[in-house]
């Protein structure tokens, strides 16, 4: 049984359709990845799942329940957490305050102390900088904060939109390895430009092109696919 089941999703902006009959499953285990070129509709898809983008048609089933008509802010409490494109941390707040914001939902609030311990263990640098204004963190630290903040809500599903953007290759590897570790206990859906690395840590992959799913399958199989290599890895 899939944790997240997206069925026949159509949506767009004004009269322009951005996603065409997209269906995608996220299993209850491990990492699923969604690949695609710029403008192919990856962020739009994630926004549909968190409720920031209205569906034209289709259904989103999460944890055996349709969430299509649930408001965006309520979906967080259902257990969906998104690290949005561009991080969107609260620049004028301290690291700690950002994390407290992450634990805003009723479900997460009671477990806040435990969550703090977990994310500080995972990202020790955040503990060192707990009082620092988030806007003054380095790019890599900001990305870690964004991931940590998303974990503070105690999600059942973690989704990340291009977390490696703007990071050095070393940091990208570090962040992806961290995701690999988180993925051992928490189901994850990653949207990535770092295709090679994303396929390495995920078990299933989907490829989006102009708003349509054009390829899907096991990650290690897709990794060997000629077309995919040509299109996304420049090989």
């Amino acid at each position: 049984m899939a944790l997240l089941e997206v069925k026949d999703l159509n949506t767009g902006y004004g009269p322009i359709q951005a996603l065409w009959s997209v269906s995608l499953n996220v299993e209850n285990k491990g990492i699923t990845t969604l690949l695609g070129a710029n403008g192919s509709g990856k962020s739009t898809f994630l926004h549909c799942i968190v409720g920031l983008q209205k569906l034209w048609s289709g259904d989103i089933i999460f944890d055996n329940k349709s969430i299509t008509s649930i408001k965006a802010n309520k979906r967080t409490d259902q257990g969906i957490s998104l690290v949005p494109e561009g991080r969107r941390i609260f620049f004028n707040m301290s690291v700690k305050e950002n994390l407290v914001m992450g634990a805003y939902t009723p479900n997460a609030r009671g477990k806040m102390d435990d969550s703090f311990e977990q994310v500080y263990a995972m990202f020790p640098v955040l503990k060192e900088r707990t009082g620092q204004r988030a806007g003054t963190l380095s790019g890599g630290e900001q990305q870690m904060l964004a991931i940590a903040r998303a974990l503070m809500s105690r999600p059942k599903l973690l989704m990340l939109d291009e977390v490696s953007t703007g990071l050095s290759p070393v940091l990208t590897t570090l962040v992806m390895d961290t995701l690999g570790k988180i993925g051992e206990t928490l189901p994850i859906l990653v949207v990535e430009q770092a295709v090679e690395k994303a396929l390495e840590i995920s078990h299933t992959a989907y490829v989006l092109e102009n708003g349509k799913i054009v390829m899907q399958g096991k990650s290690d199989e897709l990794k060997r696919d000629e077309n995919l290599r040509k299109a996304y890895m420049g090989i």
């Binding site: 920031l52 967080t76 949005p84 969107r88 305050e97 407290v100 914001m101 805003y104 809500s153």
Partner: protein, 287 residues
């Protein structure tokens, strides 16, 4: 130019400065949270003044109930105005907001006129005045200033230290991120608007203890509040406090050494010069 007049001018300036700051803070919180400019500020200041006045009329033993009642009524009035009107203005063109809220101003002002006559009133609280040489300090002004300072500190503390304050700051910084955290942005808008209106009412109730007021008397105060907001950097409550004190002092100096009629003109001249030289406001950092 006597030293006493100078001292008196500065003291008076700071007194009224706290009130300008309070009204400005009401405006700036609303703008910060939902990017709406409350063009009905003037009428709301007068409404607050009337609430303070009527409370005192029916219970003339202390100044405190008027303050409490104006805060309470301001909050409820804020929720009402938000739910009926302002909710529909979010994301609309500035002109729509301008017209609708000027409409609201007109409705409020003419209703006050119709209900309570055009006669200027003031809250007849009997505060003693102390004189030191030629400088006189009325305890009513001291009381009003203290109340304004307490309210300002309270708001800043709520902003900085409470969950509600943190949520408001989150919404001011990034609505989408706040939504992703699970924050109901609509509810924050309602409360943010009401908080702003509450401060506006409070400024009115305090003003009424030191200055006479009438239904159409809000405009000069609103104009000053707008200047304060611009100088203090849009959306920044601390900046408002300082800008309030600056504009209060300027207001007082123009009154003492020239004529009070010119005070708004000078305040606006300062605002225009600020706009030209430092578009980010006096307190703002360069982008």
């Amino acid at each position: 130019m006597s030293l006493e007049l100078l001292a008196q001018t500065i003291i008076n300036g700071l007194f009224i400065g706290f009130l300008f700051g309070l009204a400005g803070m009401g405006l700036t919180i609303i703008f910060g949270v939902m990017k709406i400019i409350n063009f009905a500020t003037g009428a709301m200041i007068m409404l607050g003044a009337y609430v303070g006045y009527w409370t005192y009329t029916y219970w003339p033993y202390s100044a405190i109930p008027g303050i409490i009642v104006s805060v309470g009524v301001g909050f409820l009035f804020g929720i009402l105005v938000y739910q009926v009107l302002v909710r529909r203005l979010i994301g609309k063109p500035l002109l729509t907001t301008l017209l609708v809220l000027f409409g609201l101003t007109s409705i409020l002002e003419n209703s006050m006129l119709n209900l309570w006559s055009p006669n200027p009133r003031s809250i007849p609280i009997d505060f003693p005045t102390y004189s030191y040489g030629l400088i006189s300090i009325s305890t009513s002004r001291v009381f009003v200033s203290i109340m304004a300072i307490v309210a300002t500190i309270l708001v800043l503390a709520v902003f900085k230290y409470t969950t509600f304050g943190r949520i408001i700051r989150a919404v001011i910084q990034d609505k989408i991120a706040a939504t992703l955290m699970g924050v109901d942005v609509n509810r924050v808008y309602t409360l943010g608007f009401s908080l702003g209106v509450t401060l506006t009412f409070l400024a009115g109730a305090l003003l009424a203890m030191v200055y006479p007021f009438e239904p159409f008397g809000g405009l000069p105060y609103a104009l000053m509040a707008f200047v304060v907001v611009v100088l203090g950097t849009l959306g920044n409550p601390v900046g408002c406090l300082f800008a309030g004190l600056i504009i209060g002092t300027v207001h007082s100096f123009v009154g003492s050494y020239w004529t009070l009629n010119m005070s708004p003109a000078v305040a606006y001249l300062i605002m225009i010069i600020t706009f030209l030289l430092r578009p980010q406001g006096l307190m703002g950092k360069k982008e």
